[in-house]
């Protein structure tokens, strides 16, 4: 069975919400929509305090090539344009809207009818995705229209659709493939047209047999799309790991997937693309898994962007008393939230509630040189060395040892028998090396 070659771990899956159908979370009383929700340059606010907005109206415009539009996810009145606490505890600019009713912008098709006829041309598709603020929903929030613009001299051969969902606990992509499969497949066809490729593969891990069967069935109607079942291994959902697993090609260090003729998109993104192109709907809501062993009702919710996280937890039965941590994202790559007032953004794939027992870090002892971190690193790096370099502030050396190739999957940290905070130091190192490189560019 297909999988990637180097490293990888198999954490306990804990897909508690796999059987819970997607539910629509009621629109909250107020939302705070962060102005910058994608990778790249911050967007520019185009609305003013006190203005009334409709659902789907443009709030902030992308300011550079890699930047994306942000739309209002509710209708109501803008009470403030201020800074709100983000997931890290720092304050970032956001538009705060008091919700009044739910009046949608004209031109958005809200009927449940599935439109399978693709009328737009390639250029129009790219234009549309840019307009509708579509970004990668796998977590990295890279603007989708930029992905479709293949740099000159390169050629895309295959489109890879990421339905792996290798993070433990998370099930939003799984439910999406089951419930919105047909729409998603149209989204894939649109992306194929946008990239001008004839072949698309959907990579799904074997622990989702129902999704594999459902999509394989649908594939008969969609030419050029094929489902590839993959062996269950973390981090198969990593872009480079998925390419290796499906095509056997290896993306060179520091390069983009298009270097080997591949473009990877998430299943959630494919659905958002369908809605943007066929239904004229901007990216204003997403499916979020709210889960945790102590939670009363782990589920998958369709949430408007900007909804405070505590509303989601309330819907799932409230915050349990022995909660130690609430994680934004999956337990492997996610970060603990410092406040539950934080809004859901385009990159929020899951909210995982951990009990005090689960969230406790193991005590740290000295490195015992077992090299387990090296054997599990899917990028073929030496996490122990990189962490040491970073701990001793030798960032130039860390750069030479390819610290920037680390994708922060946390396999090293997960497997370390000495409980060393390897990922923490790698993240610090990546951060500092990034600053060094940026400074070099400005000099």
């Amino acid at each position: 069975m297909k999988t990637f070659k180097h490293g990888g771990v198999h954490p306990e899956e804990n897909k508690l919400s796999a059987g819970a159908a997607i539910e629509i979370l009621p629109v909250p009383e107020h939302v705070s929509i962060p102005v910058s929700q994608s990778l790249g340059a911050p967007s520019k606010v185009v609305v003013e305090k006190g203005a009334s907005v409709k659902t789907g109206q443009l709030l902030a415009k992308g300011s550079a090539f890699i930047s994306s539009n942000v739309h209002s996810s509710v209708s109501g009145k803008i009470t403030r344009i201020d800074e709100v606490t983000d997931t890290s505890g720092y304050r970032r600019p956001a538009v705060i809207i008091e919700v009044i009713g739910d009046e949608w912008e004209e031109g958005i098709d809200r009927s449940p009818e599935i439109v399978s006829d693709i009328r737009l041309s390639r250029e129009e598709i790219i234009q549309k995705l840019n307009e509708m603020g579509i970004v990668g929903l796998g977590g990295a929030t890279f603007p989708s229209h930029v992905k479709l613009m293949i740099p000159e001299g390169k050629k895309a051969e295959y489109l890879l659709i990421n339905g792996v969902e290798c993070e433990p606990y998370l099930t939003s992509d799984h439910r999406l493939m089951l419930e919105r499969g047909r729409e998603m497949m149209i989204g894939v066809t649109i992306l194929m047209k946008g990239l001008n490729v004839g072949k698309a593969w959907i990579g799904i891990e074997r622990n989702k047999p129902d999704a594999i069967a459902h999509l394989e069935n649908l594939c008969k109607e969609f030419p050029g799309i094929q489902v590839v079942p993959l062996k269950v291994k973390y981090p198969q959902g990593g872009e480079k790991q998925l390419i290796k697993a499906v095509t056997g090609r290896e993306v060179p260090s520091g390069k983009l997937p298009v270097e080997v003729g591949c473009v990877v998109n998430n299943v959630g993104t494919a659905l958002a693309v369908y809605e943007a192109v066929q239904k004229n709907k901007p990216l204003i809501e997403r499916v979020v898994t709210v889960t945790g062993k102590s939670l009363k009702k782990p589920n998958n919710l369709l949430v408007r962007i900007g909804t405070p996280v505590n509303k989601l937890i309330e819907f799932a039965g409230g915050l349990p008393e022995d909660t130690g941590k609430v994680i934004n994202g999956g337990p492997m790559m996610g970060k603990a939230l410092s406040s539950l007032e934080v809004p859901v953004t385009k990159g929020t794939s899951g909210i995982v509630v951990m009990t005090q027992k689960e969230s406790r870090r193991t005590s740290v002892i000295n490195c015992i040189r077992c090299a387990r971190c090296i054997s599990v690193c899917p990028m073929g790096l030496e996490p122990v060395l990189l962490a040491q370099l970073s701990e001793n502030q030798l960032f130039e050396e860390a750069e030479k040892e390819k610290i920037l190739d680390c994708m922060e999957c946390g396999s090293c940290h997960y497997t370390c028998p000495a409980g060393r905070p390897l990922l923490d130091y790698l993240r610090l190192g990546k951060n500092k090396v990034g600053v060094i490189i940026r400074n070099r560019g400005t000099k």
């Binding site: 890290s88 505890g89 304050r91 410092s338 406040s339 701990e391 923490d424 993240r427 610090l428 500092k432």
Partner: protein, 290 residues
């Protein structure tokens, strides 16, 4: 037997003489002429190689002194005035007058003033904690208390107070080399004038947030109200980005600003206790019971 010995002695001596001649010429050819004053100056320096002067170490500083023959822009913060005078005398230069400086921690967000809201349990390094989150109190500019400054200090002048969780800098041990200033990822520590009798007045906050959010996280945050600025008779206080700053070159330690601060973010050190004005004194309740 005897012959072998003689030959050996002769050949070895010959090799020795030839090598000596070669080495002599090589030494002449590659002779490095070093200014003898470098050694003299280097001997007068503390030899801690702290980097406080901005150069690679004490030797580099000595070389620079000899090269420039001017002490006005070079300053070894560790040596102090006496040693600088000695260096100047050795070089035949005039010693610049420099007032002694000291490192000052501009955050008073102790565990009481800025209570902990979340638990940080990752690597014990300020620069790391700063990159990851706003910190346990939620203040994005406040001291993280993980001691990057303590590690950086080569003179053991800083320790973290266990009760407040904030660094404390010793007036006696600090030499104002500035290593901690660069070590702090949030630039909380600043070099300020040491002041007569170690008396200093400074705003103990660097939070640039607006008053509301700043006050929410810390009871002694500067809220940028500007009261101190209006009170200052010497125009030593400026207000930029919701944050007041006292210029230590203009401040004359008149102590007028401290009482007007509504949050108590202005700190005074080593001043005698204020004489309480008659109106301010709280009346001591006279006990009726005899």
């Amino acid at each position: 037997m005897n012959e072998t010995l003689v030959y050996a002695v002769i050949s070895l001596s010959a090799i020795g003489v030839i090598s000596a001649i070669i080495l002599y010429f090589v030494a002449q050819k590659f002779k490095v002429i070093e200014d003898p004053r470098i050694d003299i100056v280097a001997d007068l320096l503390p030899g801690a190689n702290c980097g406080g002067c901005g150069l690679a170490g004490c030797r580099a500083f000595a070389e620079e002194v000899v090269k420039r023959e001017d002490l006005s822009k070079l300053n070894c913060p560790v040596s102090g005035t006496e040693a600088t005078k000695q260096i100047a005398a050795a070089m035949g230069l005039e010693a610049p007058e420099k007032d002694p400086m000291i490192a000052v921690v501009r955050c008073n967000g102790s565990r009481v003033n800025a209570p902990q809201k979340v638990i940080y349990d990752s690597a014990a390094s300020c620069s790391f904690a700063h990159a990851l989150s706003a910190g346990e109190s939620g203040c994005p500019n406040g001291c993280l208390g993980l001691g990057d400054c303590v590690v950086s200090c080569k003179f053991d002048a800083i320790y973290i107070d266990e009760i407040t969780g904030l660094p404390v800098i010793s007036d006696e041990l600090c030499v104002a080399c500035g290593t901690c200033v660069t070590a702090c990822p949030r630039s909380i520590i600043e070099l300020r004038l040491k002041g007569k009798k170690d008396r200093r007045i400074y705003i103990s906050c660097i939070n640039t947030e607006k008053g509301g959010p700043a006050k929410k996280n810390c009871s002694v945050a500067c809220i940028g109200c500007g009261k101190c600025m209006k009170e200052c008779p010497y125009e030593a206080i400026t207000l930029v980005n919701n944050l007041a700053y006292i210029d230590f070159n203009k401040c004359r330690l008149c102590r007028k600003c401290e009482p007007v601060c509504p949050t108590g973010s202005i700190l005074e050190t080593n001043f005698p206790a204020r004489k309480e004005k008659p109106g301010d004194t709280e009346k001591i309740p006279v006990s009726s019971e005899a």
